[in-house]
Subunit: 415 residues, 2 copies
């Protein structure tokens, strides 16, 4: 049995509470911990207020073995995390020689002066271990308190990630060698609603016990998770096989890979390329495909055909088809996919045209109506979909279903 | 003086702690509250565990007048927020007749059965007011506890937002009529680093007192905020004028509008249109421009010219230029901007070509090197930029600086 080590995160920063920024640290930290067999049990966000930071860390230390504190390590006057922790633990702040030297080198490289406020970034609590920061200026800190430990990490996401990977995770692994990754299977599905998935499992008499079964739905995506103790892998594999059999090709991957990466691998395996013709998504499908490093091996590019004239000029959609059927129609989607494939010299052409809203809907063609087409040398499939939600939600659904249409085509090809 | 009403958020959901999802509720709620003169003072995230939810809500009620609780109102077995609150407050759960009727109508519309697990969504705490949900199934709840109040909101972001706008904000306004919006100015800048902004203000002897001065940097963007009490508007206006004078056209907007929306308004005002040619951003600039409702008035579309052959075929970049200069070069960026402008019949052509990484860099052309070009009928400006960071960060910087180049061009035109 895994004796779970509970870990909490205290995030600091007014920008996380006043509408400026989304807190991405909890997702990053939680995901990495879960992979390793640890568990993020709580996250608390407070502003740049010494008393609030100290109070949140104090409460977290009462519950958790490890407390990570993020943000407030920069050079400006609202960076008060060091002072808050010094006050809470009754420790002085001292300038760390190696960190100060690293700051000196960094600002020299940038051609900037090492001002007094920038020097503050080398301050660490007395007795703390300074954790070098390869992605920025302020070092992290590790503060051991008997059985418990505080890690202090910078707020900028790239720096938070660097300190996490370089210092926090190696320490956790070394310090808790008995913690093993959980038995876990994560399924990603496209093309089925959460409530339908629940019903399908119930109708098949699926009983997850003794495992945790959890769902998470987002536009165009459903995640199903099964999780148990490290020594339950064999029993979990049986349950996972039942899920695989029930959902078959609705499952596009196991793990957390983006659908665009799955499509990219399938293209690479097939030695094929794709080009995209995007109207309502405005470039979002291309952006997701090119987020994958190495995508130039299988992504040619495409056309953002927002104005109707471009559908004709760059994609060869006949103007009388546009006039007769309207830009949001099965036939225009088909012509866009065929056109972009030919113009870009790709094996597959993927096209979307729809009404993302909030305006532009009619009785016959309401907001959320989208046509998605996938063409290869021999055929072109078109799907009509009616999505619900605001502009961004409709666009996200559309991206996801377009990528999924290509994935299913490539899958049939390889089976 | 504004007697500030403190508000806390308790977010529930395993997906927020295990790496699956980012919590967007805190940003939405915090931003809306800040606009109105309230303040989100703390956010706590816990998993789908009754005891943890109850503990977090109990602690929040000790500090705050208003506690918002999100998530865990769905039909599945891991939706336990109702039970957690019932246990904490010692109240029974009862089926709300109007909510059950709304569920019945909703599932009938969707052609689905109102199963026992779906009926659970109509359960509210005894004495609570059910808050109709126009964006989903489960109603929200308002639970008054003497001086304090708990609002319960569904987790899906569209439903959270609907309940917030329809029920929470109207109640706060009615219940706290004396709360007034703060005196506040928010500046958004592109083209200046945080540390340079700090130095420029210091060098000019700028003293923010008695106002709060805060910074928030993200790739390609710097936010500077000044905030004070509602009755300090006149004094704040003077301070704001000093900031305006110091940063001049580096400020692209005041408020929280996206740079793409600022560019869109400037194009609309000029009666002009733009087309984009994107290599390393892969469609990201087009996606941001088309995120703005009504963008078809000023956005024509463009070309995702990822493969070099498309830069020639769709943008008329001479193949000998590509061979001689390389795809990531000033001359290719220029030709792309001129080409996309002509091909798309736009007034402005905006082009980017760069090395987003992680591979593909050389000594001469390292990862992060980007050329950004903006063409109109008479000229084409090209900027060479060296960005730092991972693939997504470089792409984000590139999007932002490309939009900013066009903004500055339009600004000079109108001044």
């Amino acid at each position: 049995m895994n004796s779970e080590i509970s870990i909490e995160l205290v995030s600091t920063g007014a920008e996380l509470l006043n509408g400026r920024s989304v807190n991405t640290h909890a997702r990053l930290l939680g995901g990495r911990l879960e992979d390793l067999g640890f568990r993020l049990t709580r996250e608390t966000t407070v502003g740049d207020v010494e008393a609030d930071i100290a109070d949140a860390v104090r409460a977290a230390l009462e519950r958790a073995r490890v407390v990570a504190v993020s943000g407030g390590l920069g050079p400006t006057c609202d960076d008060v995390t060091r002072e808050a922790l010094g006050g809470l633990l009754g420790r002085r702040l001292i300038s760390d020689a190696a960190s100060l030297e690293a700051l000196r080198a960094r600002y020299a490289r940038l051609g900037r002066a090492l001002t007094e406020s920038r020097r503050r970034q080398a301050l660490v609590l007395e007795g703390a271990v300074a954790l070098p920061n390869r992605a920025g200026a302020a070092p992290g800190q590790r503060i051991e308190l008997g059985e418990r430990v505080i890690f202090v990490l910078p707020g900028p996401p790239a720096e938070f990630s660097a300190i996490l990977e370089d210092h926090v995770i190696p320490w956790l692994r070394a310090h808790f060698p008995d913690v093993r990754p959980p038995a876990r299977v994560i399924f990603q599905l496209c093309g089925i609603a959460e409530s339908d998935a629940v019903e399908r499992l119930a109708a098949a008499g699926f009983d997850p016990a003794p495992f945790e079964l959890a769902y998470c739905a987002s536009p165009g995506n459903l995640e199903i998770r099964l999780r148990g103790a490290p020594d339950q892998a064999a029993a979990l594999a049986e349950k996972a096989n039942m899920v695989r059999a029930l959902f078959a090709e609705d499952i596009y991957t196991e793990g957390r890979e983006d659908l665009a990466a799955v499509v990219g691998r399938a293209l690479q395996a097939a030695g094929a390329t794709v080009a995209v013709a995007e109207s309502c998504t405005g470039g979002g499908i291309g952006r997701r495909l090119t987020a994958i490093p190495g995508s130039s091996a299988w992504f040619r590019g495409g056309v953002i055909a927002y104005a109707n004239a471009l559908k004709t000029a760059l994609l060869d959609v006949p103007s009388d088809t546009l006039a007769r059927e309207g830009a949001v129609s099965e036939e225009v989607a088909r012509r866009m996919a065929i056109g972009v494939r030919a113009r870009c010299g790709a094996d597959y052409g993927l096209a979307v045209t729809g009404i993302a809203g909030p305006d532009g809907g009619t009785q016959e063609k309401p907001v959320g109506l989208v046509f998605i087409a996938c063409a290869d040398a021999s055929a072109c499939e078109v799907r009509r979909r009616q999505f619900m939600g605001d502009r961004e939600t409709v666009r996200r659904w559309t991206e996801q279903h377009a990528l999924d249409l290509l994935r299913r085509r490539l899958r049939r090809l390889s089976s």
